[in-house]
Symmetry: C2
Subunit: 438 residues, 2 copies
């Protein structure tokens, strides 16, 4: 079976696809090849974006309730201004001194726990996780990394091996371990309560195989596992197990970070965990290719002198200018507070749908990150089919969402942070219509 973290639909067009789109799809297959898969049976040809809105070539407007890259809103004017101003002035690399990268590092570190003293810059979340694993293995002397069963951590060789959601469990090398995600819903939340125990068992299993643990690597929202927000105590206990075994804790905030969860900048903070490394990506630059590794200084002391790290484009002045603009917008526009308030309002609307549609089994959320689990009388294949149909129906009805989870039965709703109450209402009404057709 083809598993892919972010492709609920193939690039094959259905009957509703226009001739123009078909031509575009054929050209795409010819030029880009088979690894490029489009969202939706009837893929969208976008030409413009602004705030929470995306516009297709026919001028149709879509409410974006999915994309967290343009997390502060599509094409934010402050970002465009910072980007073009700096690109016209200077765009070199970090082998020369520059003040703007230090201003950015200072500002970004200011949002993190004080024990994480150094910022290192990459161009993608994949590169950030790849570097974090490199640092973890170097500093711990271990090799084994613990992830969840259906994790996604990137597309480099090393991070793809830690992304069963994208490449299947068989591609996870023997020195790593996967544990059940802290599923707070299935098995009446047993997997959630047992998460720390499962991590401890994975460590024991590593020891039995003579493997030294390097890290516990967790997406703070368990995005591809189905979106879960487990008990803080269980998460802290899991982190403690890994630390006691000589490994470090890496908080992958590529999806959950930058205010999405509505309680602060970072998802791990909701659990009271103090990670040794935070990795960042997607929302960090409103679409500009950026990533970051925020690290406990002790962990890179030896790595720095023995190996070094240089990323040609990472942390260049343009990236720094964009990064500063994004942080200023999050703060200046009160986007974390908005995520909290509108997130709660949206969750209420979604819970109302639960009372009206038997299919809706669970509504999970933190801030503006929602997982809506759909069931179909115990028939998993049917639930996945219905979930996909709901996503497709909403696209036809003008609202963009997606799905996730190992059973593909969880609606993944993750709008840009300037999402307003009326956007939430449109989302809920559209979902109501989609669910009513089943």
């Amino acid at each position: 079976m083809l598993v892919s973290q972010s492709s609920p639909a193939n690039a094959f067009a259905d009957a509703s696809t226009s001739a123009q789109q078909r031509a575009l799809l054929e050209r795409r297959a010819r030029l880009l090849g088979p690894t490029y898969r489009a969202f939706y049976r009837n893929p969208i040809h976008l030409v413009r974006g602004s705030g929470v809105w995306l516009y297709d070539a026919q001028g149709r407007k879509f409410l974006d309730a999915y994309n967290n890259v343009a997390s502060i809103g599509h094409c934010h004017p402050r970002v465009v201004e910072a980007l073009s101003g700096q690109a016209a002035t200077l765009n070199t690399h970090t082998r020369y001194l520059s003040e703007i990268i230090l201003d950015y590092a200072e500002k970004l570190l200011g949002t993190c726990p004080p024990h994480l003293g150094h910022a290192m810059f990459t161009c993608t979340g994949s590169e950030a996780n790849d570097l974090a694993i490199r640092i973890a293995q170097h500093s711990s002397g271990g090799t084994g990394v613990i992830i969840t069963d259906f994790a996604y951590h990137g597309a480099t060789i090393a991070t793809a091996q830690l992304s069963p959601a994208a490449v299947g469990t068989k591609a996870v090398p023997a020195h790593h371990r996967t544990v059940a995600a802290p599923d707070t819903f299935r098995d009446r939340g047993r997997a959630g309560r047992d998460f720390a125990k499962n991590v401890a068992a994975a460590i024991e299993d590593m020891r039995a195989g003579n493997i030294r643990p390097a890290a516990l690597l967790l997406d703070s929202a368990f995005s591809s596992d189905g979106i879960f927000f487990p008990d803080a105590a269980v998460m802290r206990e899991a982190a403690d197990h890994v630390r006691r075994a000589g490994g470090i804790v890496i908080a992958d905030e590529v999806q959950s970070g930058f205010g999405r969860l509505g309680q602060g900048m970072w998802g791990f903070a909701n659990y009271g965990i103090e990670p040794d490394i935070i990795t960042m990506g997607k929302p960090i630059g409103d679409g500009h290719p950026m990533g970051a590794v925020i690290v406990r200084p002790q962990l890179v002391a030896s790595f720095g002198s023995n190996t070094g790290y240089f990323n040609t484009f990472g942390g260049n002045p343009v990236a720094a200018a964009v990064g500063i603009a994004v942080l200023e917008v999050i703060e200046g526009e009160g986007l974390i507070e908005n995520a909290r308030m509108v997130g709660a309002y949206t969750a209420d609307l979604l819970r109302t749908l639960k009372t009206r549609h038997g299919m809706v089994a669970d509504v999970r959320h933190n801030g503006l990150y929602f997982g809506v689990e759909l069931m179909a009388e115990g028939d998993e294949a049917l639930a996945a089919t219905k979930t996909s149909a709901v996503v497709e129906a909403m696209r036809e009805d003008g609202v963009l969402i997606s799905s996730c989870g190992p059973r593909r039965n969880v609606l993944k709703i993750r709008p840009p942070l300037p999402f307003a109450r009326d956007n939430a209402e449109q989302l809920a009404e559209t979902l109501d219509r989609a669910l009513s057709n089943w």
Copy 2:
């Protein structure tokens, strides 16, 4: 010994470093940590770039004879225009349809041999090489990659393992093989003539160890090995050996590509090699974080359906707009022809220095890529010290170059492509002064 492909000097300031720079260096060490190393004993605090010029905070002007990221010139107005226009309009990802990425793919593929039918986009050259290795291993069923002794191919875990220049030979895993670079100078060029034989021997050695070869991965200019342009016949023979053994040929054009070598867009073409994959990076976006893998369609047919590949920022509309602008500038401003003409003129000036300075042992070049090998009566440590001193002296005298090679005795000269004859004269005169002080 610390070996690092691109850090000829430490971040430690010397006597000529100003108080302001010292403060900057201290702040940098505190915020970014020890992996960030600056060029030059007296690092440069840059604030502006334009064409072949870089300006420091004191308003001092430096002739850039080193940076190939801003290969079409620093802050090119066409790139800034494309970047800001597209960033203000739409910046999403490749799960939606977009025309601009197809226009870019078509244009980029048009510069490549016709058998390479697909373009895949990443955000860095490291990601491009990482993906190329992934495809090579998947399509060949082999694992072993052959590289040169002092190669550099990237900073991800998988590409760092293939970058002895950055991490030392010991970090190259047992299933890969390193071969002597085709050194056209030392041993009277024996390593150059024997290159194909050495590759054949590496394949035999793999076979003896029951390792299936996946790829031969070569920088077309052997940048970190010391900059060599070996015989085409030897290169073709090496490629044939790998193909016969079931591996593929990957041309790493991250440093040599986009017209630098003055004969066309790609360095491998000078050897008459038809690679199975071309990887691209640094100069592809005039500083915008971009990379690309251009691949023989058959190689990704199975990879595409089994594994897929998605890169969040890779090939987004802004990257496509920038990429198109760069290709148009290379064509519109005749930069390849300029690289050829001014490259030849510069090489003549450098050869004149060879007649005047005993230290200059060899001048190698293709287009605007020069390796100037310095010797000191057989004393390798002294040659390295002198090479470093020449680089530092030139920086003080207003011209930026660097050094490379396993012995750190090769001046690496690689200016932006709009380099003019008077820039070449300034470079040669400055080098003349630096060499005269020894």
